[in-house]
């Protein structure tokens, strides 16, 4: 299977590549439009800062390409946030696939920012979560979040409820890191590759 991992600068692509290897697949890291278009599955990984990530996307003209892709696309962490309308991080307009805007966790409600560690996902509503029980733990590291919205396919509680995964048509986004969430995270990646 041809699995493209989109390279937009600082994204942590290596751990996604290794997670795919553990599932018996080989991914390739690229920002080449042709290679992305011809892949069967596309992963938009995420570690980094939103404004500089979007700048890179525009430089590689990926901001035009990604929204018209027809194959399954999975955004992880910042990758999920970049698939939304906009983000407060660097006041950045994003790719506008999910109809939600990313906000910063408030500092004054007794939660630490970033959220860092293992938290549960529930209200699971997608084939992405086949074999995953509600309240399974996933690993999260983030300072920004999407509010619960109509495209939410999982919810997590950190001070309040927010959308920890989103789906619209062939686009999937997860705020947690499936590549770092043990065997259940691997299961979610496996489910994505089966789509």
């Amino acid at each position: 299977m041809k699995i493209a991992i989109i390279d937009y600068g600082a994204g942590n692509t290596q751990s996604v590549l290794f997670a795919l290897e553990r599932l018996g697949h080989t991914g390739f890291v690229t920002h080449d439009r042709e290679k992305i278009t011809s892949a069967e599955k596309i992963i938009l990984p995420g570690v980094g800062e939103a404004a500089s990530a979007m700048k890179k996307m525009r430089e590689f003209q990926l901001d035009q390409l990604i929204p018209v892709l027809k194959q399954p696309v999975l955004g992880i962490c910042l990758g999920m946030q970049l698939l939304c309308n906009a983000t407060e991080e660097g006041n950045t307009n994003a790719l506008g696939i999910f109809d939600t805007s990313i906000q910063k966790f408030p500092q004054n409600i007794g939660i630490k920012v970033p959220q860092m560690g293992w938290n549960t996902i529930y209200d699971l509503k997608s084939e992405l979560f086949e074999g995953i029980q509600p309240n399974e733990y996933m690993y999260l590291v983030h300072s920004y979040y999407s509010p619960v919205c109509k495209e939410a396919i999982s919810v997590t509680h950190y001070g309040f409820e927010y959308a920890s995964a989103l789906q619209k048509d062939n686009f999937y986004g997860v705020q947690f890191h499936p590549e770092k969430s043990g065997k259940y995270g691997q299961q979610i990646l496996h489910n994505f590759l089966k789509l």
Binding site: N12, V47, Y139, K180, S181
Partner: protein, 251 residues
């Protein structure tokens, strides 16, 4: 609910795991890759690797080791030891590290925190702080605890947060290796001083110490080495003990 993290720490020297007492008396305790796999399988929430080799040895042994570990385990891990530049971090992340822990270099060049946070995001920058309480004052120490400074622990913690560190790994040198409990008072004060997560290190000897570090010390994560390496505390037993004490824990 976000759970408290249990983090085994592997001190690495020339590709082997070692652990000292009060920062001295280093002896080997095993193959780091085997230990990493064992800890990941037994429910560790994260792993930390601190390389204490000399610079030249580190180049030869650390990067291949990080790559091997990243290939085999599916939980997050942090690598630290001798990191002094954006390029050092870039190389480690390319090998598959999720976070880096930076210590002395940040004190010597505080702007490095801003540079690293801008380049890679705050979430992968762990500011490691070694401190010792002397006459009631917590003073930051450098180079594995060998060099004392006049810098106050709490002032420095505030500064690393403001400059963009995503997490603080605080080791109390008074408690490290002594197995008599964590520095809970200092940890509590730290968690009132900053709003980023705090990993407590130094002092774990029995399971109740972990409970105390979360209830009294308000730590977000507890790091330990020898109690895990020598099999004195098993991670599954520790986690079910903590869950029974109503600490939020991933089982």
């Amino acid at each position: 609910m976000l759970t408290k993290r249990i983090i085994p720490c592997l001190d690495i020297k020339n590709g082997q795991t070692v652990k000292g007492i009060n920062f001295l008396d280093v002896k080997e305790v095993g193959n780091p890759l085997e230990l990493a796999e064992k800890y990941a399988a037994s429910g560790a929430d994260e792993l930390v690797f601190l390389d204490i080799s000399a610079t030249e040895e580190r180049r030869k042994t650390l990067f291949p080791l990080v790559k091997e570990i990243a290939k085999s385990i599916a939980i997050p891990f942090t690598v630290g030891g001798g990191i002094a530049s954006v390029e050092d971090v870039n190389l480690l992340l390319r090998c598959g590290a999720d976070k880096v822990s930076v210590n002395s270099s940040l004190v010597n060049k505080p702007d490095l925190i801003n540079e690293l946070a801008a380049a890679f995001g705050s979430q992968c920058i762990v500011a490691a702080i070694d401190a010792m309480q002397v006459d009631g004052m917590w003073k930051v120490h450098l180079s594995g605890g060998k060099i004392p400074t006049e810098i106050d622990l709490f002032d420095w913690a505030k500064e690393v947060e403001q400059r963009g560190a995503g997490e603080i790994l605080f080791t109390s040198m008074n408690h490290d290796g002594v197995k008599n409990g964590f520095a809970n008072e200092a940890l509590l004060q730290l968690s009132k001083t900053v709003n980023i997560p705090i990993i407590a290190s130094g002092g774990a000897g029995k399971m109740a110490h972990f409970e105390e570090v979360f209830t009294l010390g308000k730590a977000d994560a507890a790091l330990a080495a020898s109690v895990f390496h020598y099999g004195e505390i098993g991670i599954p037993e520790l986690k079910s003990y903590l869950k029974n004490q109503s600490i939020p824990i991933r089982i």
